[in-house]
């Protein structure tokens, strides 16, 4: 169920590289399932520079607010503007239209520290229910 074309963090974010140094970042289906209805996202401005696992923003659901962490280091080059009017896209299509930001990565080797889809699923199955 988790696409195999991208890498995953243990904080339930994903990053999909575009073949160069640019990546798209979002949260996983597992994450949105646990959050429930997403009603607001606090995302960084274009130009913000982040180190790997820095706080990228906040996702607010009816139940709770959670931090989102950047799976890679780099600079934010685009933010998904449609989420401000339609935050539910994160619930409906977390791996697609519910993407959060595009990031120009500064250290592609960081991708090696992230999980493959298979490893992420193994990680999920070991989580306490």
């Amino acid at each position: 169920m988790n696409p195999t074309d991208r890498k995953y963090s243990k904080d339930h974010e994903w990053v999909l590289m575009d073949g160069s140094s640019k990546g798209v970042v979002g949260i996983t289906k597992f994450a949105q399932d646990h959050l429930g209805d997403v009603v607001y996202l606090d995302l960084p401005k274009v130009g913000t520079k982040l180190a790997q696992f820095d706080k990228l923003g906040e996702v607010e659901s009816v139940k709770a607010v959670s931090d989102i962490f950047s799976p890679v280091s780099g600079e934010i080059v685009e933010v998904n503007e449609s989420l401000s009017g339609s935050p539910e896209l994160v619930n409906e299509d977390p791996f697609g239209q519910g993407w959060l930001v595009h990031i120009e990565t500064s250290d592609p080797s960081e991708l090696d520290s992230l999980l493959t889809a298979e490893q992420y699923e193994a990680f999920l199955s070991d989580l306490p229910s």
């Binding site: 009603v39 607001y40 606090d42 607010e60 009816v62 607010v65």
Partner: protein, 366 residues
């Protein structure tokens, strides 16, 4: 998470089969949501929703001292309650602090049902037992929480839907009235009560009959709803939640619930409440409507004139109003409707305004 010691209601398997997200709550495994909190909230506001509230305590009090015991323990009148009617009240400690809040029903001359919060059931039971021992030996208390089930059926289409199942006896009930009825050929006590701000009913039946009654209510158009939407609905309706908005450290007067306190009778905590009622209190529970998209949540500080003047006790997005809403204790001088305040939402101030409760009122309702 260790779930071994958690109880399951008679409807647990029904929830699992419906795909509910189950969470631990007050010692029980309860459904948090099925289709989603926003969807379920809308179902209750526009059609009808079904909630399993079997985790709540159901304590049956009977005997020649039943009315006297209740009158001593709860803030509202018990002996004065007419047969077949119910009342909201609080149970206080000597300092007037709220041990629990309750809806109690008069079932017969010498028979009452007291519904209490799941997390407070043991404490309320112990308190009742103590007063039976000490003062009201002609009363007995029977905790039937585990042998019965309780289902709430709430929403504008609830009355018509339930009428079809019980021979039309639901819509004839006035608010806070109750009657013993047949629902889907099973015996149930139906009360026109609830915790959503909508017209609605609560049904109490034998635990073994609960799955059949639940299925029948779904067939009658009810959407399954969990604790998540219940919390949003009650907050929109301005209804306090024990353990959050009301606690043993807060009193009914501070909480703005003085109308549920009969000050001219003797009961535990009455002296303090009479004094507070006459002299006022330092803080008050108020409703806040908060600007912006970030949700004001429990524990966030409320500021006024540049100083901390209170604390949020419950907060949520209100899907019915499309605003963020909260309940908060604030200093009395900041409790007047229209008062501007600021809420510290994780380091950023959001503008708020004190707003009369309830935030949401159903059309034509009271």
């Amino acid at each position: 998470m260790n779930s071994e010691n958690l109880r399951r209601t008679a409807l647990y398997q029904t929830h699992v089969d419906l795909g509910a997200r189950i969470v631990p709550f007050a010692g029980w495994e309860m459904p948090l949501e099925y289709s989603g909190i926003l969807d379920e909230t809308k179902a209750v506001r526009t059609r009808a929703g079904i909630f399993d509230v079997s985790h709540m305590g159901r304590l049956y009090i009977s005997g020649s001292d039943a009315a006297s015991l209740l009158d001593w323990v709860v803030t509202a009148g018990a002996a004065s309650l007419r047969l077949g009617r119910a009342r909201y009240a609080m149970i206080c400690n000597e300092a007037g602090g709220i041990i629990d809040d309750t809806v109690f029903y008069r079932l017969d001359d010498e028979s009452y049902l007291l519904v209490c919060n799941a997390g407070n059931r043991n404490e309320v039971m112990a308190l009742l037992d103590r007063w039976v021992q000490e003062r009201f030996g002609g009363a007995s208390v029977d905790d039937r929480t585990l042998s019965t089930a309780m289902i709430a059926f709430q929403g504008p289409e609830g009355a018509a839907g339930l009428d079809g199942l019980c021979g039309g006896s639901a819509s004839g009930l006035r608010p806070f009235a109750s009657a013993q009825c047949q629902v889907a050929s099973r015996s149930a006590l139906i009360g026109r009560t609830g915790y959503t701000g909508e017209d609605g009913f609560e049904l109490i039946a034998d635990a073994c009959d609960a799955p059949a009654i639940w299925d029948t209510l779904m067939d009658a158009g009810g959407s399954p709803c969990g604790l998540g939407s219940r919390d949003v609905l009650r907050l929109e309706a301005g209804l306090a939640l024990h353990g959050h908005d009301i606690t043993p450290e807060t009193t009914p007067i501070e909480a703005g619930l003085g109308r549920y306190v009969q000050l001219d009778k003797e009961f535990v905590g009455a002296e303090v409440l009479r004094r507070q009622s006459a002299e006022g209190t330092r803080r008050r529970l108020v409703g806040l409507v908060v600007e912006g998209k970030r949700i004001p949540r429990e524990g966030y500080a409320v500021h006024g004139n540049g100083e901390a003047v209170g604390t949020i006790t419950s907060g949520s997005i209100s899907p019915s109003l499309d605003r963020n809403i909260a309940l908060a204790y604030v200093l009395e001088g900041f409790s007047t409707p229209g008062q501007q305040v600021q809420v510290d939402i994780r380091g950023q101030m959001a503008e708020g305004v004190v707003t009369p409760l309830p935030f949401y009122s159903r059309k034509g309702g009271g």
